[in-house]
């Protein structure tokens, strides 16, 4: 599937969708030029046309039980979830932030220890 924007001079493929998009290059070196040149980071890009974005229909999603998800669900530690549900949303995110800080300290300790 291809969509053409005005003044096409470079193109990129969206990471997961298979959609090929075209953009323009002009003036200073910019994000799209870097992407067109290196071929890297295509997930960063690139549909510079807001109307185009809004026109895209959303896929229909089946929300019926999925056997794979049901299989994974058996291994979910629900005791953690129940504890989290006792907290407010803000407290839950504070807990996440505290854990991130803890992990960062561990990473730093690891860097020092195994340098």
């Amino acid at each position: 599937m291809g969509y053409r924007l005005p003044m096409p001079t470079c193109r990129a493929r969206l990471a997961d969708s298979g959609i090929v998009v075209y953009g323009e290059l002009r003036g200073k070196i910019r994000l799209n030029q870097f992407l067109g040149r290196s071929g890297a980071g295509v997930e960063h890009c690139l549909r510079g046309d807001n109307e185009f974005v809004n026109e895209k229909p959303m896929p229909e999603v089946a929300l019926d039980p999925d056997p794979v998800i049901e299989a994974y669900k058996k291994d979910v530690d629900r005791t953690l979830l129940r504890e989290n549900l006792k907290l407010t949303p803000e407290q839950r995110v504070e807990k996440l932030i505290a854990f991130q800080r803890f992990l960062e300290e561990w990473r730093e300790a690891g860097r020092r220890a195994f340098r």
Binding site: R30, N50, P89, E90, L96
Partner: protein, 162 residues
């Protein structure tokens, strides 16, 4: 170093219109999984793009995974020409999404979001049902465990009642 609190507070202080999605949103709902970045869907209006460009610039946004030294220019024009950006900043990794896979734009997601106070900042967070829906729609194998946990969370929440 991730400073989620400072990142969220900066966006809110600048009055950027955005919806928190992804791992931080899942955490706000009660997920026990950790995350190392902040995912937000931003509104693609000229005014909002300008605010986003201005507020992030002091934190040196740069394309995550890109080699250092590229002439990457962060401004409103770069945001307007692009859509989804996976960035590193001085405050941590930030995914700025103009469109969420399976969920669409800010405008499409807004009715499925709710105001919530996160890390001292009043912002909007995607609802649990929609979060499950977009994860399912994205269809990424890596999300299967995440979806399982979110669905378990919904079951636990519904079991407890209001």
């Amino acid at each position: 170093m991730m400073d989620l609190k400072a990142l969220l507070q900066a966006l809110v202080k600048a009055q950027v219109e955005f919806i928190v999605v992804g791992g931080v949103s899942a955490s706000a709902h009660g997920s026990a999984r950790s995350t190392s970045d902040l995912d937000v869907v931003y509104r693609r209006t000229p005014d909002n793009i300008a605010k986003l460009a201005a507020i992030l610039k002091p934190f040196h946004p740069y394309l995550r995974g890109a080699p250092p030294g590229l002439p990457f220019l962060w401004d409103g024009d770069a945001i307007r020409r692009g859509l989804n950006f996976t960035l590193t900043t001085d405050l941590g990794d930030l995914d700025l999404l103009g469109e969420l896979t399976g969920g669409g734009t800010y405008e499409r997601l807004f009715p499925f979001s709710a105001p919530v106070r996160i890390a001292g900042a009043d912002c909007r967070c995607l609802g649990l049902e929609k979060l499950i829906e977009v994860k399912r729609a994205a269809g990424r194998p890596k999300d299967l465990e995440v979806i399982a946990e979110l669905e378990a969370l919904r079951e636990e929440r519904d079991r407890q009642g209001p």
